[in-house]
Symmetry: D3
């Protein structure tokens, strides 16, 4: 890896250092009906994450005394550079959509004690209003904050007596662009990179998900190690931002 500080200007269109996140903003209470509602922005990527509590569970959990946490993902048709067709009109969700919503669901379940949640369902809807790369990692990062708000409301209402949320969780993408490992790829970087990795970690620094894909050349163990280090750095920063947002402080 060449020295990132030297090549930053040339490397990234927005002048970011290779190891820098885009400006991240977490706006709570973005809409009024949901138990948790967060607009998360990673640069120009904007995802509305709502957390909805329903007093019922899917069949596989009925009578178990445990709750369920699940996620759905969508993209507005013109969230993207050219219009993509509406999945509701086509009559089915794409494989990509299903893959992403399954990832979000697993990531959030990994930090939930379903027993402590009780027999109710928390649904995290992550809808992309504007896309510029990293929508799934922004969605996980925002969904955690929305989930936390919903949990606080359950506690305040006395429906649960201790929080079922065991750890913070956040996610970031890393990749190798032009031979250089970079953090938090935008759409342009993502399209041109050789390797793309999405990493989901807890506040305690443990992995929940690692999904690395060679889009061009297969990657080496050394490259993977560099990418994991970068991701660890980015996620640590995101977790600070989540806590700040939850503490009510301004976040830029």
């Amino acid at each position: 890896m060449t020295d990132p500080t030297l090549t930053a200007t040339a490397l990234r269109a927005d002048g970011r250092r290779p190891d820098a996140l885009r400006p991240v903003r977490l706006t709570r209470h973005y809409t009024m009906h949901a138990e948790g509602s967060v607009l998360v922005e990673f640069g120009n990527t904007k995802v509305l994450c709502t957390a909805s509590v329903e007093e019922k569970v899917p069949p596989h959990q009925r009578g178990s005394g445990e709750g369920w946490v699940t996620a759905e993902y969508g993209m507005l048709p013109r969230a993207t550079h050219s219009r993509s067709s509406r999945e509701a009109a086509k009559g089915k969700q794409s494989g990509r959509t299903q893959e992403i919503q399954r990832l979000i669901g697993r990531s959030l379940r990994a930090v939930f004690d379903l027993k402590a949640l009780g027999e109710r369902t928390l649904t995290l809807d992550c809808d992309v209003l504007q896309a510029d790369g990293g929508t799934r990692t922004a969605a996980i990062t925002g969904a955690f904050v929305a989930a936390q708000d919903a949990v606080h409301q359950l506690l305040a209402e006395g429906k649960i007596t201790s929080s079922p949320l065991l750890h913070p969780v956040a996610a970031i993408s890393v990749g190798i662009v032009g031979g250089v490992p970079v953090l938090d790829l935008d759409y342009f970087e993502d399209s041109g990179c050789d390797t793309d990795m999405n990493v989901v970690m807890t506040g305690a620094g443990h992995y929940v998900e690692v999904q690395g894909t060679a889009e061009g050349l297969p990657f080496s163990r050394a490259e993977m190690n560099q990418l994991l280090l970068l991701a660890e750095k980015g996620i640590a920063e995101l977790i600070v931002l989540q806590q700040a947002a939850l503490a009510g402080a301004d976040v830029i």
Copy 2:
């Protein structure tokens, strides 16, 4: 009709006079990719309207020299008080969704000269971020502004030489609540009203669509006349707000 000024406080939860619109806000350039992108707010109802230009037309217009204008409508699952299921996941759009998007499409086509648009398609995507009654009328009102922005871009790029947009168009709901005709019903009022009417009019004061439904008691000709007068007043105000938004002025 009793004197609305006397009963206003009792009548409407937000203290509005029977003939008053909710605060309306039209935010242009709300997202960055679409040729037109407007967040329209009628009180707590918030709809994102994007206008997308594509250089192709559906089969029925191919080779005609004419363009096409169409609309799609969606509601985020937690735009509503309790979560509704995601149409993309269910695999089909509800009858209500189809009815609304057909209405939006017809309303905008009514003010477009398809010949002057040339063989291209303008798609208006209206996605409800937060619902509190009147989403279809907000959508039409916002979609006009998004369409106007898209037309300006086509003119600026020299793709067309004169505007295919013949008139402004806007829409409002009116209804009879507790015996009193009121303008711009919110969700609570809409749920309890006897008659609900959606009116779409041009800037020249002509009707594009009138859809009145007796939800409780059938209504008389006199009541319909009162409702049409109210709607005319509301639409005239909305058209002023649209022009102000397009002129770049602040709108509240």
Copy 3:
């Protein structure tokens, strides 16, 4: 409005006066299984309306003590001039179909006392055997007669003790063709008209639904008033024909 009596011959292909209905025929007991079964003909438009009683209600009415009235609409593939594809084979109902069946359902519910119906469902199936314009208005007009027959049977069987049908209901289309307001448009007139309005009224002369659409030029308040007057006249005639059919008299 020019004098319709003078222009009638030139105006309408079948020589009708602008304010004249097509020949209307209501044939009861057209098929043998349904509780009500009526073939309704508005000129060449022929719709089979059956009313089916089922001793169950949809989930939203269970335990409410109230019944439900709903409608479904279909068109045989070759009811139309050129063959249209079969919705069952395509795997979904068009937006037009859903819009029409929702309209029929609302129109009939508007004249039903669901409490008096008891916890049962009345389904009105309106299937177009031959189409020549005005299928939705013929369907509503015929469905009322089928519903009345089904109600009589429930009364005769002692399942209910008083009729849940509060008023007759009928529907007609009106439109402006070549500048002249006309009643009960056939397919050819409907295709060429500037404004098309479907009106649903009760026997007491109150509105249940008004749906006006500018297909060409937006229409003025004065034009709407003319159309509403024409519709009122047509519906009054239809209600007489419905009563005659129910009284067992011949109807032409």
Copy 4:
């Protein structure tokens, strides 16, 4: 087999002899748009068969110089004793529907010279208005008459110069009810029979399709022979009735 003449009264609710058809009626020109349109009645079973000509062929026949003949089958929801759900609303055709429409299509193709038809498609839509057993055999019998009318029209228009219809074709059901072979089962007989067989034959007395099913006890070769004899008799009668209908004579 006991003597059918002795047991007829007891055997069949309508007093028919075991080897008698129900009253058959073939009404041509039943609807006005289709190239062929026939209402076929086998007793209380009523099926509307339309033949539609389209100047295109499915992909597998394109450029072959040959045409195509196909069929679709449907049942109005209240054609049956209790209401069945609408296939268009459910979003798919049942296995039974597909099985029947494939049978109708094969039966008609068996008597068509696709080369002589030219590159066009003849679609036979068979929609059951009222069902009382034997809908598929009535449909085939009526579809032949509709197809013949459509062929006559193609000849009259000079689109083809010789008829592609090689033979008449008709169909009937036979079955063993209470140990006695009977012809043309109504719904009640069909529900209670041990063996049900549908036979499709040409005017020349050759088989196009034989579909026998043991609904209760498996059947012997001797029983099958009896059933085939009965079917042969019934089809010969149906072919006479088809010719009479096509000759314009009254048919009862």
Copy 5:
């Protein structure tokens, strides 16, 4: 019929006599999870038949004290000469698939005493791994053996005390190829034959299903008799092979 022994070599590509089956192999316990699992081979046609027992019944049998037997059929995309599209990906089963699985289900139900089965469901999944004609007849023949194995397991577990399987059942295709009736058609013969008949019989020599189709010329009664005789011979041989397989003997 000409003497089949003389024309055999010329007639059939594999040198079989007209009245000869292809080599048949029934491999039990082919997969490990199912209660019955049989790979059936008719020459190059290979179908995996599994019998699954579930302790529930479909709604129409609930509380009846009776069980249910049903079948599903599928074809791997490259079981055929050129790849056919995957039905799961297309989102629906073809009419052919549904027709075949309904035939398999009826054939097996015909030899089951549903009362003796008790309120449980036996599902026969027949999946074609390699197709060379006769997949449906191989499926029925193999499904019987799988069903028998499942029944033995239910007996061994004491869930039932007497076998609900009343008779063996097997199936074979017969057809007229180049004027000669032949048994057990392979794909090449099937594509070119004039008449194709599938026959399902019990071990007692009674018919369960007979489905004959004229693919080219309609067929005579004499030809049908020849075909039925051939089928009878083939099925008698298949039933011997089934019994041998169930007795554990090697089968070729």
Copy 6:
């Protein structure tokens, strides 16, 4: 990590060492129609992988001079311990199915030079006949062998002159079971493990995909390193087995 040699017997039900693959078998030419057809077995997991060549490409590659490589995945209903419903009958592929087939497609494309393939499509159908954990990794490992056979055939036919297959590719699962990292998990191990990782690597030891999921406790960097080492060992062994199979040697 405790010494795996000591705990092996207790740890794994089949007595395998933690770092041992299950017996792997690759049977080429398993079915006869496909250009490549391989039955791959990882212990009791059995997947049929076929490679089909079609002389066409999807729209996004048309005219590009490049080919396409894609995959579809399915599971026979009774491949699993209890019967799962058939996706073709349900009318859609599950999210899991789509996720897996996208993974297989990406993995194979990563080792293909699409330019050298020419404008044709290679479809890898991976159908699970029997499932016992690791179906996706077995599928990728078998699909490579099937793809290689299809490429050999294209070369033999002179359709391409050099191989578009750049590297071997294989896949294996690793996981942490009871605190011990183990290779190639069977279903029982997979169900109970805390962390599950699927690794896809080339013959040159580079990563194509890494997908790690914490099913129970999030995992540390140290654990991930152990898992990656284990996977590297397993994949090296699989690649030897693939080469042996392709060389025609017996493989156990």
